[in-house]
């Protein structure tokens, strides 16, 4: 049997990173081939090469046995290779139909659009997928889950022979996932080869035929899913035996309440969210993409206005309208996007650590006390184990894990007793992750109150003393941390929709 796609010895370099090291991958018609590995293993990079978005630096790619060079996504589409991206790539100002058929609009003469035909074709595509979406609906007004389904419909409308799905179920509930899997089964029966990237082990067992594991930009192994126990796949992914460590959960029930939130509401994003956080406690926030976790954090931090709700800090009501207000009552927010919101990456470690506390280093003349800043920066570098040649190193030259520690140092210096971590280990390698976890636990042990927002369930389960779960802007439940709570319980809450709000037939 000839391979639909065959990749051998694929090399890819980015500035300062050897992203792919002689990676191989192959795909047969009518199979679902899972691609697994931790964040940063190179899965998405490999698939972007297969779909023509990146050019390969070395190696060979064959389609139907013929060597091909793809000079863009169009070339891949012409070969029948389609991709559903991990991040939504839709145009919010356009309608669903305009998005699905972008680049292939039905035309009349002289470059005029045939809008009626556009909507008709899209309706056909939606009908075939049993999607109940108005093709004329503006995409920006739809929920994340619906947008994801439009993205999938768009990829399928190219009638691809190879379909790459990069975490397609991240924002879908069980019913929608079942629908998607039904579509995948039909495609497979038609001889389409499917590459399926997912972190969800149960999904791999349900639909994949083979699995290829990558680690640190290198190819590890390709296995038959039916014959391979999940623990073997996990071991290959992380490169060592994984012992499921359970956190030691301190009894904080008598500790004073650090943060109390009642009835927090902002449009459709956050609806009536209430919870309490005690000193010394780590409260994890779990949920699917678009569940409203980051939005809750941003409201508490004053980065976004709220429609309703009250916030108490240390037992007293506070009026937080701007991040400045939040910092003054001791709340720090570590954004998931460190490069954009957390760090001035071209400035030094010292400058970044002092950034939020400059008045502390300012004399009456307004001149900064560099010597004091240096002392404090070096203290924090030692305390948090930041690996940097000196406090004068530019932050952009540090690794992701060390950048995260610089952000932590900044907020610790600011004496924040309430710290909100949004995806604290995103883009950080395995070793550094463990260190960040230990630091978070130390901070809690020192009596700080900590919120951790994470999309990775194992991370939430490993860190949290209690787990708050959100779905579509509502807090659907708070579960105890530790081994008593299972992944299934969390997922049940994370997909518990408010049925009263859904229109009939939805």
């Amino acid at each position: 049997m000839t391979y639909l796609v065959e990749m051998k010895g694929i090399e890819k370099h980015f500035p300062g990173v050897h992203a792919l090291k002689s990676v191989q991958f192959d795909l047969m018609p009518g199979e679902v081939h899972a691609l697994m590995g931790e964040n940063g293993a190179g899965k998405s990079t490999l698939m972007k090469i297969m779909s023509g978005i990146y050019a390969r630096d070395g190696g060979e790619m064959r389609v139907d046995g013929t060597t091909v060079y793809l000079d863009g996504p169009r070339a891949a589409q012409d070969l029948g290779i389609g991709i559903i991206h991990q991040e939504l790539s839709l145009m919010n100002d356009l309608t669903a139909a305009q998005n699905v058929l972008i680049g292939r609009e039905p035309r009349l003469r002289f470059g005029r659009l045939d809008e009626a035909e556009l909507n008709r074709q899209t309706t056909e595509i939606f009908d075939a997928l049993k999607l109940n979406i108005d093709p004329r609906a503006s995409v920006g007004s739809l929920t994340i889950a619906r947008q994801q389904l439009i993205e999938i419909a768009k990829a399928l409308s190219y009638r691809p022979r190879v379909l790459i799905m990069d975490e397609p179920t991240a924002a879908l509930n069980d019913a929608e996932i079942a629908e998607l899997f039904a579509v995948i089964a039909r495609l497979r029966a038609d001889g389409v080869g499917i590459v399926y990237i997912s972190h969800k082990m149960d999904e791999i067992k349900r639909i994949a035929d083979r699995v290829t594991v990558m680690r640190d930009g290198a190819y590890i192994d390709t296995l038959d899913v039916a014959e391979t126990p999940l623990s073997t796949i996990i071991t290959l992914m992380v490169g060592r035996e994984v012992t499921q460590s359970t956190p030691e959960i301190p009894d904080t029930s008598q500790a004073p309440v650090a943060l109390q939130v009642r009835g927090l509401t902002r449009g459709r994003d956050v609806r009536n969210v209430s919870f309490a956080l005690r000193r010394g406690e780590i409260l994890g926030f779990a949920g699917l993409m678009g569940a409203g976790r980051t939005e809750v954090a941003r409201i508490i931090f004053g980065a976004d206005p709220r429609d309703a709700g009250e916030i108490d800090v240390g037992g007293a009501p506070v009026d937080i309208r701007t991040p400045n207000d939040a910092v003054r009552v001791g709340i720090g927010y570590l954004s998931e996007d460190r490069k954009h919101f957390g760090l001035a990456t071209d400035m030094t470690v010292r400058a970044n650590i002092a950034m939020a506390s400059l008045e502390r280093f300012t004399g009456s003349t307004g001149v900064l006390d560099e010597a004091a800043m240096k002392r404090v920066a070096q203290d924090h570098i030692a305390q948090l184990g930041i690996r940097t040649p000196s406090d004068m190193q530019a932050v952009r030259l540090l690794s992701g894990g060390n950048q995260q520690k610089v952000v932590m140092a900044k907020w610790l210096l600011r004496d924040c007793d309430i710290l909100i971590f949004d995806e604290p280990t995103r883009g950080i390698d395995v070793g550094a992750k463990a260190e960040i976890y230990r630091l978070l636990q130390d901070l809690a042990a020192q009596g700080r109150a900590i919120i951790v927002i994470s999309s990775e369930l194992p991370e939430v389960m490993r860190l949290s003393h209690r787990i708050a779960v959100m779905c579509e802007g509502r807090l659907t439940g708070i579960l105890p941390g530790g081994p008593a709570t299972t992944q299934e319980q969390i997922m049940e809450l994370a997909t518990r929709r408010d049925t009263a709000l859904a229109p009939a037939g939805d």
Partner: protein
């Protein structure tokens, strides 16, 4: 799944509905201004004064229409003012220096605009120079070229008698003597109608909105975004060529020193009309209303004998108010 339901709408009503709010706001402001000025001065509502306002709108209106296309893509074009002059100068070269027929002069103006837009578009799309910088450079290049080609002297169109009719004649007035609307105004409405059609009904227009909404997504969909962007700048440039014809015809000369500042007036009209400078949203009708508001303000304040210096101050304040109103609306709706 959501609380909102999407009632089926016709394509036409949807095009009208896009960005309706700010346009309604702008349109209401325009009506209020008209009523206010006519109450303040009996001279304001005279037919001749209304025609003067329309005539004063024509050049800025055409430029606003041109730059609307580019702004919807998320870009900006600072060169349209001096590009307009450059087109007029080239027309002068064709008609007065070379003595060629009128039609060739018209073609030369539009082709020169399209060519200049093509150059700007290439800088932006292929060389990845930010639109602000690329068109700032083009603005100076075209200004300089106009001065060099003309030898810094105006080029008069005295040898081409039909030329001044382009702007100042009145085809409508020949049919309806009571309504001597100048051709310049007629051309503005024809250009605006065409541009609205292009934006709403053609592939080029679709990619204007798509690029402004999420350029990366369009690129990943396999669309040749560079080529379309260049095409949009070229289309915009050819409309600037029409503005060049209008102003040259109105002055019966190509004035090489003219042009700077026109781009900002046009951008102001676009912004007042509700087009988002971050791209993805906007309409031609809005820009047209924006241009009218500016002309009505200038004219009305002059009729009320307000000093010209103050007219400029008021225009500036209107721009800030218009954008603030738009941002307030967005904040509420998001």
């Amino acid at each position: 799944m959501t609380t909102t339901t999407h009632a089926p709408k016709s394509a036409v009503s949807r095009i009208v509905a896009a960005g309706t709010h700010q346009r309604v706001l702008a349109f209401t402001s325009l009506i209020i201004l008209l009523i206010g000025f006519s109450l303040a001065s009996p001279n304001f509502m005279q037919t001749s004064n209304m025609i003067a306002i329309l005539q004063a709108t024509s050049v800025n209106g055409v430029l606003a229409v041109a730059v609307t296309l580019v702004i919807i893509t998320g870009g900006i074009d600072l060169s349209i003012g001096t590009m307009m002059t450059f087109c007029a100068v080239i027309t002068g070269v064709v008609l007065t220096y070379a003595g060629l027929p009128l039609l060739l002069g018209v073609i030369a103006a539009i082709a020169t605009g399209a060519g200049s837009g093509l150059a700007s578009g290439t800088f932006v799309a292929k060389m990845k120079i930010p639109p602000f910088i690329a068109t700032l450079g083009m603005m100076l290049i075209l200004k300089g070229l106009s001065l060099v080609i003309s030898g810094t002297r105006p080029i008069y169109f005295n040898d081409t008698p039909g030329f001044s009719e382009i702007s100042r004649g009145s085809l409508i007035g020949e049919v309806l003597p009571a309504l001597p609307i100048p051709n310049g105004v007629l051309i503005l409405f024809i250009v605006a109608g065409l541009a609205a059609y292009i934006l709403g009904r053609t592939v080029l227009g679709r990619y204007c909105y798509a690029l402004g909404s999420n350029e990366e997504a369009v690129r990943l969909s396999g669309v040749n975004t560079d080529r379309w962007k260049i095409a949009i700048y070229a289309m915009s440039g050819s409309i600037v060529g029409v503005a060049g014809l209008l102003i040259a015809s109105r002055l019966n000369s190509a004035q090489p020193a003219l042009g700077l500042g026109y781009e900002l007036e046009a951008i102001a009209a676009v912004v007042i009309g509700g087009t988002s400078l971050s791209g993805g949203r906007g309409t031609i009708l809005g820009s047209l209303i924006g241009a009218l508001i500016m002309a009505v303000l200038t004219n009305g304040l002059r009729v009320l004998s307000v000093a010209q210096e103050w007219q400029t101050v008021v225009t500036g304040a209107i721009i800030i108010l218009a954008v603030y109103a738009d941002m307030m609306r967005r904040k509420r709706s998001s």
